[in-house]
C-alpha cells in the first residue's frame, strides 16, 4: 500500500516516487540546483546512505543518479512509497 511521507523520513533503501516538491520554501537558487540534479514530480527516489553520527546529509538515488543533499532540503519533498 502506498503511503505519502516526507523524503527525510523515508527509511533507507525504500523505493518511492516524488509526488510534490514545495519549491516556494526552497528558494529560487536551491530550487534550480535541485532541478538540475534531477529532483522533480514523478521521479523515482530511494535514500541510500546517511552520513555518520548526525545522519545528515543523506545520499539519495534520483532516477539513475546518486545525489547528496541535506535533510533540510529533503524535508520539502513529499514522496509516496511504491
Amino acid at each position: 500500500m502506498a503511503t505519502a511521507l516526507r523524503l527525510d523520513l523515508l527509511p533507507m533503501r525504500t523505493d518511492a516516487t516524488i509526488r510534490a516538491i514545495d519549491w516556494a520554501s526552497l528558494g529560487t537558487a536551491d530550487s534550480r540546483r535541485l532541478r538540475n540534479l534531477g529532483f522533480d514530480d514523478g521521479v523515482a527516489v530511494q535514500p541510500l546512505h546517511a552520513a555518520p553520527v548526525s545522519q545528515d546529509p543523506i545520499a539519495v538515488r534520483v532516477g539513475r543518479m546518486t545525489v547528496a543533499i541535506r535533510r533540510a532540503h529533503a524535508r520539502a519533498m513529499t514522496v509516496e512509497t511504491n
Binding site: D56, P57, A68
Partner: protein, 614 residues
C-alpha cells in the same frame, strides 16, 4: 584564410568530458585562462578525417545554460559567442553519460536547441551495458535531430567516428538561432520522454553497483577509510619523495661543483652558484612532493571518491558554518592555494565561497614544505617518540594541524561577522566510481609539473637573482661583512626592528621580503644570504641546514615555523583572490588578518619557548 574550425566540448559534470577531450587531443593541450576570470581554458588540437586541423576547447561541466556558478557562466557565454577571448564555436560536441540519460539530456537539449552544428557523444556505453541498459543511438539521434556517436572515452573507443560526424556536421554549418530561455519543467519532461524512447531495455537502477558506497559511506568503515586515505596521502608525500629528492639534490650539487670549477672566482661564479643554482635549486627539490600530493588529488577526483569524502566531511564543516562543498577546494589547497581558490567557483553560496577563499591559504600548501623541511631537519632531533612515530614527523603533523585548526576558528568567526549569511546547503551529484586512466592522471601531473617549473624558472628565478644582486652590491670594503655593506642588508635592518620582538634576526627579515613572491623563496633566500655571508673558506661547502643550526636559537626556529603556518607570503594567492572576489577589499582583508595572526602566533611561540628555556 579562415582560422581552423573551433569545436566546444560541452556536457554535464561527470559525463566523462575531460577523458573524451584527452582522447581526442592527446597530450597536445594548452592550459590558459579566459581574460578577466580565472576559469581555466583548456584547448587542444585534433583533425578531421581529411587531415584538416581543428581546435577543440574543453568547457567547464554545467547542468544548464542558466548558470549557477562562475564556471557555468563561462560555458554559457562561450556557446553563445559572448565570452571575451573566445570566438563563437563552429560546432558543439555534446557529451552525454549513457547511464544517466534522463538527467543529462536536459542540458543536451538546451545546447542542441541553440542551433549550432552539433554531435552527441554517447559516452560510457560500456558502463550502461554493465548496468543492464540498452540504449539505441539511432533512436536518440532521430529524437535529437543530430548525429549520436557511441564512445568509451576512458578506453579510447569512438575517436574516428566522432571526427567523421563532426566533419560532416561542421561543413553543413547553418546560422545559429537564438532561443528564449527554457522553462525547466518542459525541458525535464522532454528529456525524460526522449530518454524513454531511446532506452530499449533496462534493469532497475538499484541493481547498479552500489556496494562500493555501502563500504565507503558505511557509518563505521567510511570514516576509517577516509582517515586511512588521508594518512596514506600525507605519509606518501614524505616517504615516496625521499629517493627522487636525493637524486635532484645530487644533481644540483654536481652542477654547483661543475660551475665552481669552470667559472673563475668572482661575481659571475657567485651569481651562478649562490644565486641561480642555490636559489632555484632549493625550490625545485620539492617538485616530487608536490607531484605526489597532486597525484593523490587527481586520483581521488578521477575515481569519484572526492565527493564521498565531501559527503563524510559535510557535517564537520557545517559546525564552522561551511559545507562539504568547501572540502574539495580546501584539500586542493594542501597542494597549492591557487587551484584551491579557483575550485571554490563550484560553491554556489557567495558567503560560503568567500569564507572558503579566505581560509584556503591556511591549508598547508606544498610551498611551505621546503620551509618546514629545512627548519625541522636543522632543529628538531630525529628521535622516536613512539613505535614508528618520529619527533620530526610529529612536529610536521602539528604544523598541518595548526593550519587546519586556525582555518576552522577563522571560518567560525568570519561566518558570524563579515561573511554572515543564511545556512548553506549541500547538494552534490555523486559520480559513479571509475578506475582512473593512467594516461589522464599522467597528463594532469605533467601539466602541474610544467606550471611549477615555469614558476621556478620565472618568478622564483627572478626574485632569487634580484635578491642576490641586492645582497652582493655594493661589494664589502675590507673588514666589513658582505651583508652589512649590501643594499639588502640596509633594507632588512629597517624591517628587523619590526620582527625582532618575535625573535627574528636580520637574515630572516631579509628572507621574508623576497618570500612575498612565494613562500619557498624563503629557503633559497636564506641559502643565498648565508652563502654570501660565509667568509670562512672551510665552511663554503656547508649546506643551509648546518649553517642554520649554528646561527639560530631554537625559539627563533620555532617562531619561524609558526610564522609560516599563517603568513600570506604568496603574491599569486593575493592576485587570484582579487580576481575571484572582484576587487581589493578581500585580498587586503586576507593579508591583514593573516599577517596579524602570523605575528601573534610567532611571537607567542617565541616568548613561550624562551620562557620554557628551550
Amino acid at each position: 584564410m579562415n582560422p581552423m574550425p573551433l569545436i566546444a566540448v560541452v556536457g554535464n559534470p561527470n559525463a566523462g568530458k575531460s577523458a573524451l577531450f584527452n582522447m581526442l587531443t592527446g597530450a597536445r593541450q594548452k592550459v590558459g585562462n579566459y581574460p578577466g576570470v580565472t576559469v581555466e581554458r583548456k584547448a587542444g588540437r585534433f583533425s578531421f578525417p581529411d587531415g584538416r586541423p581543428v581546435e577543440l576547447v574543453d568547457l567547464p561541466g554545467s547542468y544548464s545554460l542558466d548558470p549557477a556558478s562562475p564556471d557555468e557562466a563561462v560555458t554559457r557565454d562561450v556557446v553563445l559567442g559572448k565570452q571575451a577571448g573566445e570566438r563563437l564555436p563552429d560546432g558543439l560536441l555534446v557529451v552525454l553519460d549513457a547511464t544517466n540519460l534522463d538527467n543529462h539530456l536536459r542540458f543536451a537539449l538546451e545546447l542542441i536547441d541553440l542551433g549550432h552544428p552539433a554531435v552527441v557523444a554517447l559516452n560510457m556505453v560500456d558502463l550502461a551495458r554493465r548496468d543492464g541498459l540498452e540504449i539505441s543511438a539511432e533512436r536518440l539521434s532521430q529524437a535529437l535531430g543530430v548525429p549520436v556517436v557511441e564512445t568509451v572515452a576512458v578506453r579510447r573507443i569512438g575517436k574516428d567516428a566522432i571526427a567523421e560526424a563532426l566533419a560532416s556536421e561542421v561543413l553543413t554549418r547553418g546560422e545559429v538561432k537564438s532561443t528564449a530561455p527554457h522553462d525547466p519543467r518542459s525541458l525535464s519532461t522532454r528529456a525524460r520522454a526522449i530518454a524513454a524512447t531511446a532506452t530499449l531495455s533496462q534493469k532497475p537502477a538499484a541493481a547498479a553497483a552500489g556496494w562500493l558506497d555501502r563500504v565507503a559511506l558505511n557509518p563505521v568503515a567510511g570514516p576509517l577509510i577516509f582517515a586511512g586515505i588521508m594518512f596514506l596521502m600525507f605519509q606518501a608525500v614524505f616517504a615516496w619523495s625521499e629517493a627522487p629528492v636525493a637524486l635532484i639534490e645530487g644533481g644540483l650539487l654536481a652542477m654547483q661543483a661543475g660551475a665552481t670549477s669552470l667559472l673563475p672566482d668572482g661575481v659571475l661564479r657567485s651569481l651562478v652558484v649562490d644565486g641561480i643554482l642555490g636559489g632555484v635549486g632549493a625550490v625545485v627539490v620539492f617538485l616530487p612532493q608536490i607531484l605526489i600530493l597532486f597525484f593523490f588529488i587527481l586520483l581521488l577526483e578521477a575515481s569519484g571518491y572526492m565527493v564521498r569524502a565531501a559527503f563524510l566531511m559535510d557535517r564537520l564543516m557545517a559546525r564552522v558554518g561551511l559545507s562539504g562543498h568547501a572540502f574539495i577546494p580546501l584539500l586542493s589547497s594542501f597542494a597549492c592555494a591557487i587551484p584551491g581558490i579557483m575550485a571554490t567557483r563550484t560553491i554556489a553560496d557567495p558567503k560560503d565561497r568567500l569564507t572558503t577563499i579566505l581560509i584556503a591559504p591556511l591549508m598547508t600548501c606544498s610551498a611551505r614544505l621546503p620551509v618546514y623541511a629545512v627548519i625541522i631537519a636543522a632543529f628538531i632531533p630525529a628521535t622516536a617518540v613512539g613505535p614508528g612515530i618520529g619527533l620530526q614527523g610529529l612536529v610536521l603533523f602539528g604544523l598541518y594541524a595548526m593550519g587546519i585548526l586556525g582555518a576552522m576558528g577563522v571560518a567560525l568567526i568570519l561566518r558570524r561577522t563579515v561573511a554572515r549569511g543564511a545556512k548553506t546547503g549541500f547538494m552534490m551529484e555523486m559520480p559513479k566510481y571509475q578506475i582512473p586512466r593512467v594516461g589522464d592522471i599522467a597528463l594532469g601531473l605533467w601539466q602541474r609539473a610544467t606550471i611549477f617549473l615555469k614558476r621556478a624558472g620565472g618568478i622564483i628565478l627572478v626574485s632569487t637573482i634580484v635578491l642576490w644582486a641586492l645582497l652582493s652590491f655594493p661589494q664589502p670594503k675590507p673588514g666589513q661583512s658582505a651583508l652589512d655593506s649590501s643594499i639588502a642588508g640596509k633594507l632588512a635592518t629597517g624591517l628587523a626592528t619590526v620582527v625582532e620582538p618575535i625573535g627574528f634576526n636580520r637574515e630572516i627579515a631579509l628572507a621574508l621580503i623576497p618570500a612575498m613572491a612565494a613562500r619557498e623563496v624563503a629557503v633559497s633566500a636564506l641559502a643565498t644570504v648565508y652563502s654570501i655571508e660565509e667568509t670562512d673558506e672551510d665552511k663554503q661547502s656547508q649546506g643551509l641546514i648546518e649553517r642554520l643550526r649554528g646561527r639560530w636559537p631554537l625559539p627563533t626556529a620555532l617562531a619561524f615555523l609558526m610564522w609560516f603556518v599563517f603568513a600570506p607570503q604568496c603574491l599569486s594567492t593575493v592576485a587570484v583572490t582579487r580576481r575571484e572576489t572582484n576587487g581589493w577589499k578581500w585580498p587586503a582583508f586576507m593579508l591583514a588578518y593573516l599577517f596579524g595572526l602570523a605575528y601573534l602566533a610567532a611571537g607567542a611561540t617565541f616568548w613561550l619557548a624562551t620562557w620554557a628555556g628551550l
